[in-house]
């Protein structure tokens, strides 16, 4: 049966070439779209690793003031801590969670190396963002006096650098000692893939890295925010004080991912509807043209079910041809590692795309094939 269908298609390969190209192109579009969606859903399903509600990031800029910056930043830190509305404060580099700035660095251990997201944060960071530790502990102020800089890494970094070994106490890049491990840390929001991260203790005598992350108590409003900005600006005239709510920055980060996906989804959706309508029309026309053939088969004893199976089978064979060519292209992505995505993402996308294409062609063939099944042999043959 199947080999017969293949023969039928092959005999009319020239007429079907365009149809195959169309199905192939739809498959490629679907594959691209689904890779994007699967990638993002997979990222989204992994935990963020910290909480962000009620956390504000207060960015400070000293502008033309150049004297005694560390002491002034320290005074601001103490002042923030003293407010009754504030639960916890932490000083951090300006690549704080959901911010638009990035810091990367390469670290190595023995012969292994990896790129990590590099955060310079103080001892209160894990507390402020409520990050649970998987192993070891977060560094404390007193740790800075040791021979090595104390660092905390996330589990992904631990896997990259140490595989299954216990990372605690290991030395990275000659001068950093791992003293704690956290789970995930996806600093750019849920849609970010789980990247290796490294937290290094912040040197408080430094002019830089003076973003204050403040966890306020629930129910604190803009009144308090205005008061903080006023107080801090009054303390250090000439400094810029800017408050960002992490919930707002998170929304911005999400939009960066979601807006292109939604636009692609709408456009591809319309394209596929277009293709489906076209396919439906073509199948309808081709069945109208083959009435004689259908009439003859019915006269020779084929059942209505047999006829409709034949037409659906034909379109399936056609789709299979197109999908085989499509898969030949699609398989290059994981093989050549084009966009640096996990192979599983491409495979999942391919499988879903294949499923959807078969679904669409079946749906398009269903109505015309049922009409074909209802053709009466006498009527059809009479026309001939």
């Amino acid at each position: 049966m199947i080999s017969h269908l293949f023969k039928l298609i092959w005999n009319k390969k020239k007429a079907h070439a365009l149809l195959i190209i169309e199905i192939w192109a739809s498959f490629m579009v679907l594959f691209g779209l689904l890779s994007l969606i699967v990638f993002n859903i997979r990222n989204y399903s992994q935990p963020l690793g910290f909480t962000y509600e009620n956390v504000w990031a207060i960015g400070l800029q000293s502008n033309q003031d150049t004297v005694g910056i560390p002491q002034k930043a320290q005074r601001i830190f103490q002042r923030l801590k003293a407010y009754p509305e504030v639960a916890s404060v932490s000083r951090a580099s300006n690549n704080f969670p959901f911010s638009s700035s990035n810091m990367n660095t390469r670290v190595d251990h023995e012969k292994r190396h990896t790129m990590v997201e590099y955060y310079i944060v103080d001892a209160h960071f894990s507390n402020t963002l409520e990050m649970p530790l998987v192993a070891g502990r977060w560094y404390r102020g007193a740790d800075s006096v040791g021979k090595f800089k104390p660092i905390v890494i996330n589990q992904k970094a631990s896997e990259e650098l140490f595989e299954n070994e216990n990372p605690l106490g290991k030395i990275i890049s000659k001068d950093k000692q791992v003293i704690g491990v956290v789970g995930n840390f996806k600093g750019k929001g849920e849609f970010m893939s789980n990247q290796p991260a490294l937290f290094e203790q912040l040197d408080e005598n430094n002019d830089w890295n003076k973003t204050m992350l403040v966890r306020v108590k629930p129910g604190t409003d803009a009144m308090f925010e205005a008061k903080v900005v006023k107080d801090l600006s009054a303390m250090q005239a000439g400094w810029s004080v800017e408050v960002d709510h992490l919930t707002d920055s998170r929304k911005t980060q999400h939009n960066l991912t979601l807006v292109p996906v939604i636009i692609a989804l709408i456009v591809s959706g319309f394209l596929l509807v277009n293709v489906a309508l076209g396919l439906f029309g073509i199948l309808n026309l081709s069945i109208a043209r083959r009435r004689g053939e259908i009439g003859l088969r019915r006269a020779l004893g084929a059942t209505g079910r047999g006829i409709s199976t034949q037409f659906i089978g034909e379109i399936w064979v056609l789709a299979t041809f197109a999908l085989l060519i499509g898969l030949l292209f699609a398989v290059q992505f994981p093989l050549l590692d084009v966009f640096d995505l996990q192979r599983g993402i491409y495979v999942t996308a391919m499988l879903i795309a294949v499923g959807i294409i078969y679904g669409i062609v079946t749906l398009c063939a269903l109505f015309p094939s049922r009409q074909a099944a209802m053709i009466q042999p006498a009527v059809a043959l009479h026309e001939e």
Partner: protein, 415 residues
């Protein structure tokens, strides 16, 4: 003749409403997407409010410093001093404006928090751009020299900050980060996509926290060079480049030693594309493959679909072709007829698309997705769309026409 072809096409359209729907759906959908896209590109790159002179402007947005071994690289906006020295003093431009990109801040009114973007500019900024002043006037050289704490705000910010909208905001006081400024003008705001002019509150560069005093090469400032006319643009580019070339190398600035200094002055489109492509080879490849993929998807797929439907519908017209051939119509005439028919149908689709894009653009403008969005279907957008219509019609008409005209008379007449 032409009228005849079109009449036939119209009759064919009416015969099978379902197939007509499929055809027109495909065409109008594709063209709508393309029109909205062109309109958006026009919004991004065209000369629109308040940068109506963009076509004769050059933008200096960043400086790139490299060492001779090309191992390290430093890039970004420049200091006010650098731009004053090398750009402001140029002879050919009509005017040169120096301003910062916007930076974010907050203002508080009672228990409300207003997010806002601030920009520090010189007095020429108001000449180079074409802001519409709803109230008051811009600050001038005297205000700037006096170091007055004044500000120009947008109508949107006025709406958020002041309760009484009827009353003029000029002369009133606004408080931002514990500093008080006097409002001297209210302008109609600029869309956020025009980053050289977008902000909510504009300060003279002598206002606090502008960092115009920086002495190194790098800082927060960018410049717009306005030429007297379009012909002067290349002249200005060379003049500015000469100045940059004359800076002695190697130099040290802000603690960074460099041997190569690039400060491009570019028309807006080049500057914008440069910003994207600056991200390295990976991003460039992603950018171009994305554009290729989208174009393929947008044009190729509906065209193939249309060709397919058209090819399948040959048989409807078989007897007509057979008779015309039997009476001696040459292949060329038949192909010509079918192409005209296809182009005609495409133009109907184009008209529907025009209406659809008009609605979509209105929706985008009203949605607040981009504040102050002013997407329009202007002449250039329309011409591009007509051109695309033609290409589309030809693309989807040629193959079916060829197939149709190749039918042998006997076979065609048999059905």
């Amino acid at each position: 003749m032409l009228a005849n072809y079109i009449k036939i096409a119209w009759k064919v359209l009416l015969r099978h409403p379902f197939y007509t729907f499929i055809t027109l759906f495909g065409i109008s959908l594709t063209l709508t997407v393309l029109m909205v896209l062109t309109s958006f590109l026009d919004h991004l790159f065209g000369s629109h409010y308040p940068e109506t002179s963009r076509y004769r402007s050059l933008y200096i947005q960043q400086m790139i410093q490299r060492d001779s071994a090309r191992t390290s690289r430093n890039g970004g906006p420049m200091s006010f001093k650098f731009l004053t020295q090398y750009a402001k003093s140029l002879k050919t431009p009509e005017r040169v404006s120096i301003s910062t990109f916007y930076s974010t801040s907050n203002a508080y009114v009672g228990s409300r928090r207003i997010k806002l973007n601030t920009k520090f500019t010189d007095a020429d900024f108001w000449q180079v751009t074409d802001f519409e002043f709803l109230e008051g006037k811009p600050y001038n050289e005297q205000t700037i020299a006096g170091g007055d704490h004044v500000a120009v705000i947008t109508d949107d910010f006025k709406r958020q900050y002041f309760d009484n909208l009827e009353e003029s905001a000029v002369g009133k006081d606004i408080e931002i980060e514990n500093l008080h400024y006097k409002v001297i003008g209210v302008v109609k705001g600029s869309p956020v996509t025009r980053i050289f002019t977008y902000a909510d509150v504009y300060f003279p560069y002598t206002a606090p926290k502008s960092n115009y005093q920086r002495t190194g090469f790098r800082g927060d400032y960018v410049a717009i060079l306005l030429a007297k006319n379009k012909q002067d643009v290349p002249v200005i580019r060379t003049e500015f480049q000469d100045r940059i070339n004359r800076i002695p190398m190697p130099a040290v600035s802000d603690g960074f030693k460099f041997d190569i200094l690039e400060v491009p002055s570019e028309p807006y489109v080049e500057n914008f594309i440069g910003m994207i492509l600056d991200g390295g080879a990976g991003l460039r490849m992603l950018f171009f493959s994305l554009i290729a993929f989208i174009l393929f998807m947008l044009l190729g797929l509906p065209a193939i679909n249309l060709v397919n439907v058209n090819v399948s519908r040959i048989w409807e017209r078989a007897s007509e072709i057979g008779i015309r051939k039997a009476f001696g119509a040459p292949v060329r005439t038949l192909v010509w007829q079918f192409i005209v028919e296809n182009v005609f149908i495409t133009f109907i689709g184009g008209a529907i698309a025009l209406i659809l894009s008009f609605i979509i653009i209105k929706l985008i403008n009203a949605s607040g997705w981009i504040a102050y969005a002013d997407l329009t279907i202007n002449l250039s957008v329309f011409l591009v769309s007509v051109l695309v219509c033609l290409v589309f019609g030809l693309l989807s008409g040629v193959l079916p026409a060829l197939r149709m005209s190749k039918l042998s008379i006997a076979e065609a007449l048999k059905s």
